[in-house]
């Protein structure tokens, strides 16, 4: 049955979620009937706190299995026991930057070392891209919040994943860092074709970066559509209220 469904998935779909739910202690926190994510697109998922956005990212990075339903990646059903090679095709930059207590370069090279790949040149190039070449030897945990987030992004970029998942990548950052981070995210998508799923509270950021946008409310996807439609003429009244700033949550 799953292989039949997989064959029906268009080749340009990187992710396809079919009746996926996630429960913790019998409480359903995510319940997605259907979601597809195209290769090379930037999909923004917006929604209030506790809507299930971060849970969705964990499922997309295969860090947790869904409680029910099926996730297809690259037209193949993701098995319960996810092969390492498959998991390594996706990576996440989490909201709370988690850097190792090592130098900036060692942090950026970390994922490459896990894969036994040559690191120094690639790490240096990734640092150059995020404007931190001169910080290469600094202790990563001594950097400012914005710089730390840029290191985390460089660490993800250097892996050249098929999909990059970003959980509130600019939360609590100053405008300079927000602008710089948005620019490198867009570059990564345009220059390398990396599929990006961005979870954010910031609807303006979603509008600036994303090709498509989805609203997640109480674990359910209300509407997913292209950015213009999402912001200008949403189909669902809740989306209208959310983008119009009328939804109090």
């Amino acid at each position: 049955m799953h292989s039949v469904i997989a064959n029906l998935i268009p080749w340009d779909m990187l992710f396809s979620l079919d009746r996926v739910s996630k429960e913790y202690n019998s409480r359903k926190v995510l319940d997605i009937d259907h979601l597809t994510i195209e290769r090379g697109e930037v999909l923004a998922i917006v929604g209030p706190n506790g809507a299930g956005k971060s849970t969705l990212l964990r499922l997309l990075n295969f860090l947790e299995p869904p409680s029910s339903g099926a996730i297809y990646f690259d037209r193949r059903l993701v098995p319960a026991r996810v092969p390492l090679a498959l998991r390594r095709r996706v990576t996440t930059v989490f909201q709370r930057t988690q850097l190792l207590s090592r130098s900036v370069t060692a942090n950026v090279a970390f994922g490459l070392q896990l894969r036994d790949r040559d690191a120094p040149g690639l790490a240096a190039a990734a640092l150059e891209r995020v404007g931190l070449a001169d910080m290469a030897h600094a202790p990563a945990r001594k950097l400012s919040g914005g710089e730390m987030q840029r290191v985390a992004l460089a660490r993800a970029f250097v892996l050249q994943p098929d999909a990059l998942l970003l959980d509130e990548p600019t939360a609590n950052l100053d405008p300079h860092n927000v602008s710089l981070i948005e620019r490198v995210i867009a570059e990564q998508n345009e220059a390398h074709g990396t599929t990006i799923v961005l979870v954010t509270h910031n609807i303006f950021q979603a509008r600036r970066i994303a090709h498509r946008c989805g609203l997640l409310l109480e674990g359910q996807l209300v509407e997913v559509t292209n950015v213009e439609t999402f912001f200008s003429s949403p189909q669902d009244a809740r989306t209208s209220a959310f983008v119009g700033g009328k939804m109090v949550y």
Binding site: N61, L84, L100, S101, A106, L114, L159, L165
Partner: protein, 234 residues
């Protein structure tokens, strides 16, 4: 004050003249302590790390309470327990370890193991669980994640090893009971200090105490150096 000055002079003299008896006692102290520390570390670090990282441990509260109680074990009680196990009427008498360094190492392992394990659990448990998630998201296997967590918890892990070293090198009750303080066979620095004190040789006893402190200082210095070496520059 005079006794302290005399003991300092005596300690310098003993060390400077490479007193063979002192060197032999120092050697045995290190041999027993380092062997016990190695065994405790080899068992305690992975066990503590697994316990600290595991999401669900059956009867976790009971396991932790046992570990923390183990950290407060009176060495003399440990000595008595090992003595009873190894004595002629004990279940392990066939090992013929009583009054040998092997018995002393066994007792010290029992003292050091809960310290290494318990403090490793605390150190590893202190590493942010989100860091583990991030490391996995970057493509780490379970083993690679565990090694990264251990590396992040290295300061606490080194403290665990240092605390265990300090507890067993300065311990006297257990080694006295199961070793017997036999000259040339099981005498170590702490039992020698007790002996010299009983003989009224306070200067010599204090000198031995200073040697013991010096050893502990050097060992901890080496641990700190090791901690620095595995620190940032990787």
């Amino acid at each position: 004050m005079q006794t302290i000055l005399d003991s300092l002079r005596e300690a310098i003299k003993l060390l400077a003249t490479f007193d063979p008896e002192l060197l032999e006692i120092i050697g045995r102290s290190l041999q027993v302590t380092l062997a016990a520390l190695l065994i405790s570390t080899v068992i305690g670090l992975p066990f503590g790390a697994a316990l600290g990282m595991a999401r669900r441990v059956p009867a976790r509260a009971g396991v932790m309470a046992t570990l923390y109680t183990g950290m407060a074990l009176p060495p003399v009680v440990v000595g008595l327990f090992v003595y009873l196990l190894l004595s002629r009427a004990g279940p392990l008498s066939m090992l013929d370890w009583l009054f040998t360094p092997a018995a002393m190492i066994s007792a010290q392992v029992i003292i050091a193991l809960p310290l290494v394990t318990g403090l490793t659990v605390a150190a590893v448990g202190g590493v942010d669980t989100d860091l583990r998630l991030q490391v996995r998201a970057l493509g780490a296997t379970g083993w690679q994640t565990a090694l990264v967590v251990m590396a992040e918890a290295r300061v606490g892990v080194l403290v665990a090893v240092a605390a265990a070293f300090g507890a067993i090198i300065s311990e006297v009750g257990a080694v006295m009971l199961v070793g017997g303080n036999i000259a040339g066979k099981t005498r170590v620095l702490t039992t020698a200090i007790v002996l010299e004190t009983r003989k009224g040789e306070f200067a010599l006893a204090l000198a031995l105490g200073m040697v013991l402190l010096l050893l502990a200082f050097i060992a901890n210095g080496l641990l700190i150096r090791f901690g620095r070496d595995i620190g940032m520059e990787r």
